[in-house]
Amino acid sequence: MLFSGLKVWTSRSLWIHRLHEGINGGGKARYSSCSPKVCIVGGGPAGFYTAQHLIKARPDVTVDIYERLPVPFGLVRFGVAPDHPEVKNVINTFTQTARHKRCSFYGNVNVGKDLSVTELQEAYHAVVLSYGAEGNRRMGVPGEDLSGVYSAKDFVGWYNGLPSCRELGPDLSCETAVILGQGNVALDVARVLLSPIDLLKKTDITQPALEVLEESRVRRVLIVGRRGPTQIAGTVKEVREMVNLPNTRPDMLASDFEGVKEALKDLPRPRKRLTELMLKTAMETPGEKEHERREKASRVWGLRFYRSPVEILADPERSSRMAGIRLAVNNLEGSGEEARAVLTGEMEDVSCGLIISSIGYKSLSIDPSVPFDSHRAIVPNNMGRIQEAPGLYCSGWLKTGPTGVIATTLNNSFDTVRSMLEDMDSGTLNTSAAKPGSQSINALLENRGVKPVTFSEWEKIDSEEVRRGAAIGKPREKLLTVEEMLQVAGK
């Protein structure tokens, strides 16, 4: 008892000592004569986790976060589905980071436009690019730009209040929608399209989106993947949410599941549980209660496998509008996660009035001075160190490509910080010369007529949104334009 009590004291006081003294586990002092100034481009999870870890690891470092929008949190605000409020709890930790005295947030600053990365490098000892993946992968098929075809990125941005997607105005007057891609984004979109409106009303989905969804005539959503059930990109929690979605029933094809049962035994546990859930949903005769539930359901969702998009078919009567999609039927070559879809030559047409392409996001280059691998659409890097660019680092989706949940982004951001700390220790990253940091950047911004939004100004926007939400029984009603955000921030 006494022993364990003392042990507690020793290990924890050591940790506290470490925080105050900036000494790493090896007991080596890490100070340089001048306090390192680091800036981060992008105020999403990667930006905040990078800042959090840096501040904690080095008691002398100051961190400034530059964010393009007046509001922080990236895809936690503009990506995560409105009916997943628990996921957004990470905002509490981000807020603590932003309020830390060695961290500053500057919203409404578009790096690449308002400031160049070179200017940031002149002002800071190190620059971390964490600006995510703001583009989307295109299918590259004829008809992709017809009306009635949307990217999931825009559709998600629209229901989540991303200013640039405000005017998307998706047409939901058809009965059947086809979603291409079977990742979690595709499942989010399917769920939002089919959710009972009363469930959505209690979320922070935007009011205009809610009104359009309330009038939606979409009754059937097909989620189409190019490979098989054992390669589906979505995860079990999200598939289970579809299975349990009120007022919907599944519509699957038995032929898609041929041989799947036999393959189960060799799958690792996560893949196995996911496949079992789909098999059960597709193939098992439901019990009485579930049977009744399905009978009563007025909306339908289905997964379709082994199909790749070939062409979006135009409406013969309105050639600028789509009326269906041509899918190529695939076989799989190889097995497991790496199996590849190969065309069989067979085609299949599906009529539908709405197509949402959800085949992935894509990072863009924001500044020609920064190396960019346009084939892989990432910044080429070694554990977060941008190649051939000393002093430049990257984290988050820009570093890894647009996959991974927030926990993945957290880990890869911490890894980048480790690399940077190693470089500070080894002297590869020179922090000995004094740097002006935000002082010189703020002067540049002022000259250019850019008005940064600070974190406390964001908190004004936040309270206004919460206030507007409370008036209509929602956790928040988001401001939808940059102008209004700036106005509420007092700019």
Binding site: V8, S11, I16, H53, K56, H100, R273, A407
Partner: protein, 160 residues
Amino acid sequence: MALVTALRRLVRLREFAWRTAAVTSGSWPRTQSFSSGHLLRSDNKVTVHFFNRDGEKITVKGSPGDSLLDIVINEDLDFDGFGACEGTLACSTCHLIFEEETYKSLGPVTDEEMDMLDLAYGLSDTSRLGCQICLTKRMEGMVARVPESVADIRQSQDGS
């Protein structure tokens, strides 16, 4: 006994000062107060041994009814990124690995926990999510290991 209590109180005071002044990783919104368990006499408490990512053993005590996440928060244990979704079964960052016997004694796992657990790094047959495990007296002396992150694994493979 009195000495230990006094020492622990001292530590807690110092931590509190840090907590209000700075960010701790895997931290909790400040509005969360210490669990009322702290006010109870320590003989009601349950001892838990954690092994952190560096393999260091950390022994703490929690009150019956606290989740393992509560303990990590209350004791301000420095497990990077632990508990990102604050115990709402939406992140898997509270992943812990147990000894086989302990795992068996923890009781059944819900589908929802399994679903989230399936996304965890370094998933093992005796993995659980710390936010879903509530302490009982029977768990006295249990050992919970915080799994290595991907980078740790990569570094040890590199031999660096």
